[in-house]
């Protein structure tokens, strides 16, 4: 049995070597993607474009403008004369936030009976960005109002003093969160790509028939297809971890062996998914498009872009089935928090159970489609 599997694995590697373009891509593109995405997602959101319509033109209104510009999140890029021009800037997407200071602003500020108003208009078409811009502008204005009223900022001791300690990432470095997640995504993409094609390709090219007439059992066929994908996936993982640790300075606080072990489980589960898809699809085109649909859904439920606990209950249950979600928790836990198996075993078990189910389905499905 071992010999037969070995021969099949050998055949797969010969095919991969012949297709050197693919082999080269598998080894280089993931590293490039990691570097590109990590550098793009690690910078904080700042220097959002602001347009200021200052109709008051007094020393106070200029102080308002300066205090807005001093916020890291905001950058004053336009000084339109009218609200109409500001509207055009918002329409074109050239600016995120328009600040309007009306005539008589400074005069109103002098009279205690009146309130001087500053109007903020945000482009709500991206709510996240609008929230950040509005929050920053509001904070700048509140600070300024305090100064103008002669209150020294936070001079008084509050009866309750909040002392904050930040664990694992005291400098609030965003890349500590994003880089391990990207490592997980990339290992996911690579294994699923390699595994999902195998059988569909043989079927499409008619070589599956040849494999069937060989003295290979179904299990041997699946295992033989899985091993090359496993090797490619683990190789990629090693590459990614090296780049993450030495290139991006992500700490490795837990046990590397534990991470490797759990990655093996994850990769095996992904291969199960891949072979399952490969088995139900009749052509490679179908298999690939199915993988894309699955990958999109998996990514959404991975807990990276949206925290799982914020999802409605029904979707949370659904997310439990997605192996990527557990794997990202494991990656983060081991690398950043130094978590051990006692903290992570539930995630490992969840992954393993889904994996076994999928592999069983894949083998069963394969036997049906072969007959």
């Amino acid at each position: 049995m071992i010999l037969r599997i070995r021969n099949l694995v050998w055949k797969e590697f010969i095919q991969l070597r012949r297709d050197w373009v693919m082999a080269a891509f598998i080894l280089t593109l993931p590293v490039l993607q990691l570097i590109l995405l990590a550098s793009a997602t690690t910078s904080s959101i700042d220097d959002l474009s602001v347009a200021v319509v200052d109709r008051d033109r007094s020393s106070v209104s200029r102080r308002v403008v300066t205090s807005l510009g001093n916020r890291e999140e905001l950058e004053i890029q336009y000084v339109p004369a009218t609200l109409e021009q500001a509207r055009h800037l918002l329409d074109d997407g050239a600016t995120i936030l328009a600040v309007v200071i009306r005539e008589g602003f400074s005069a109103a500020l002098e009279r205690p009976s009146e309130t001087a108003a500053v109007q903020l208009i945000a482009d709500g078409s991206n709510d996240l960005v609008a929230d950040i811009a509005l929050g920053a502008a509001r904070a700048a204005l509140v600070d300024l109002a305090g100064e103008e009223a002669g209150l020294p900022p936070r001079a008084h001791a509050s009866p309750i003093e909040l002392r904050t300690t930040v664990r694992y990432n005291p400098t609030f470095d965003v890349k500590v969160f994003t880089v391990p997640a990207q490592v997980g995504f990339i290992v996911y993409q690579v294994t699923l790509t390699v595994a999902s094609i195998g059988l569909a390709r043989e079927r499409e090219l008619g070589t599956l028939e040849q494999l069937i007439v060989m003295p290979l059992s179904r299990l041997e066929l699946v295992v033989g297809k899985a091993i090359p994908a496993l090797i490619v996936g683990m190789l990629n993982f090693a590459l990614m971890v090296v780049v993450a640790i030495f290139g991006f300075g992500i700490p490795m606080r837990g046990s590397l062996m534990l991470l490797i072990g759990l990655t093996l489980v994850f990769v095996a589960v992904q291969i199960g998914y891949g072979i399952f898809i490969s088995g139900i699809a009749h052509t490679q085109q179908q298999a690939i498009l199915l993988v894309f649909v699955l990958a999109m859904v998996d990514m959404a439920f991975s807990g990276y872009l949206v925290p799982i606990k914020n999802l409605p209950m029904v979707l949370q249950t659904f997310a439990e089935v997605a192996p990527l979600r557990h794997y990202l928790t494991i990656l983060r836990g081991v690398m950043l928090k130094g978590a051990d198996l006692s903290a992570l075993w539930q995630h490992a078990v969840a992954m393993g159970v889904t994996g076994l189910l999928v592999v069983a389905l894949a083998v069963r499905n394969l036997s049906r489609s072969l007959d």
Binding site: P112, H156, V176, T283
Partner: protein
């Protein structure tokens, strides 16, 4: 170049899609299906913070503080820690985002008019979420202080009596309530519409892999006619799935559509042509579907989620920025949001529209040349 021969190729391609029911469903319906699923996940306005509480004081004031913080359900107490219990496991198991430690003698210190330290230990792994939670917590603690001060008098009330001289009025245009759904649906629409482009790359790679390209070469069909015919079919199917996705956005999610439908169709076609330009380029370089898929996934699809301005704005980092603007999805996200929410006309969208056109022309011109060479 003959239009007739091109149409023949287009018809052959259409047969390929319609004959294979699964493929037909995947090409036309998958984007609409994905739009529905993904929108529910991404469009969340609630941000829950799970906290653990170690109340060493255990007085009515300290309990009041906790219930004040958790009153509206944004902060949820997931664990009450005993006085000697360790905090660490809550973080390694990912159960809590933050732990509040209220010291012994808290109430006495506060009522004596001194400052009592409340320890807040935060899991900083997700830096953005952590700093937001801390800011919200600070706000709530301050509000609690003000409330207590008001009800009991004294307690630093004079410090809170600062006169309000400046009023900030804020408004959000285009999406008044700043609902995530309104901005995420038009954005995701661009990402899911990259599926038809992938299908084209696969269709081309398939002919190469199977060797059926050879038999096409001996027919009088020329390279440009062949590519043109394939492109035509997939552009049409892309626009059709664009319409479906539009219907999902407007009727299912109730996103207002303030722009013109004609503009939307026109620019969708523009986007589909540009994204198919990229997939044609990919397909001319590769020899099989697996490589085509891997390339599209790596250079087009995944970056579309992270670089294109779907969630966070396009990065300032020069390489990432250049890459983002080379992606058709970056431009179409801008277009789609502007057409749905802002209701602007073509003039305001000329920038991204022309960028898409340029990407399409360059990629297709390039791949056509490469392809012609290979055929002869």
């Amino acid at each position: 170049m003959s239009l007739q021969r091109m149409l023949v190729v287009a018809r052959k391609e259409l047969t390929h899609i319609t004959r294979d029911m699964r493929l037909f469903v995947l090409v036309t319906l998958a984007p609409a299906f994905l739009l529905i699923t993904l929108s529910y996940v991404f469009a969340l306005d609630v941000e829950r913070v799970d906290i653990g509480v170690q109340n060493r004081d255990n007085t009515s004031l300290s309990r009041e503080l906790v219930s004040h913080i958790t009153a509206d359900g944004d902060f949820v107490v997931v664990a009450w820690l005993g006085p000697s219990q360790r905090i660490e496991p809550l973080f390694t198991r990912g159960k809590a985002d933050m732990v509040l430690v209220i010291p012994r003698g808290f109430a006495k210190t506060v009522l004596d008019g001194d400052s009592a330290p409340v320890q807040c230990v935060v899991d900083g792994v997700d830096a953005v979420a952590a700093s937001q939670s801390i800011a919200i917590l600070e706000g709530r603690v301050n509000a609690f202080v003000a409330k207590v001060a008001r009800s009991r008098g004294g307690l630093g009330a004079e410090a809170l009596a600062g006169t309000r001289v400046l009023e900030v009025k804020d408004r959000a245009w285009y999406n008044k309530a700043l609902k995530s759904l309104m901005s995420i649906v038009p954005g995701l629409l661009a990402v899911v519409l990259s599926m038809p482009a992938l299908a084209l790359a696969l269709a081309l790679a398939k002919e190469k892999e199977r060797g059926s390209l050879e038999s096409l070469i001996v027919t009088p069909v020329r390279g440009s006619e062949y590519l043109g015919g394939k492109l035509l079919t997939y552009v049409v199917s892309g626009v059709v799935s664009g319409m479906l996705a539009w219907a999902v956005a407007t009727f299912w999610f109730g996103v207002p559509f303030r722009g013109g439908l004609v503009e939307f169709l026109l620019l969708t076609a523009d986007y589909v042509v540009a994204s198919m330009g990229i997939s044609l380029l990919v397909a001319t370089f590769v020899r099989n579907q697996q490589t085509a898929m891997f390339l599209v996934l790596m250079i087009f699809f995944i970056p579309s989620f992270f670089l294109s301005g779907l969630l966070r704005p396009v990065a300032d980092e020069p390489i990432a920025r250049a890459f983002a603007y080379a992606l058709p999805s970056t431009h179409f996200i801008t277009i789609s949001r502007a057409l749905f929410l802002k209701g602007v006309g073509l003039a305001a969208l000329s920038g991204p529209a022309l960028a898409l056109l340029a990407i399409g022309l360059v990629c297709q011109g390039f791949s056509l040349r490469l392809f012609d060479k290979k055929l002869t």
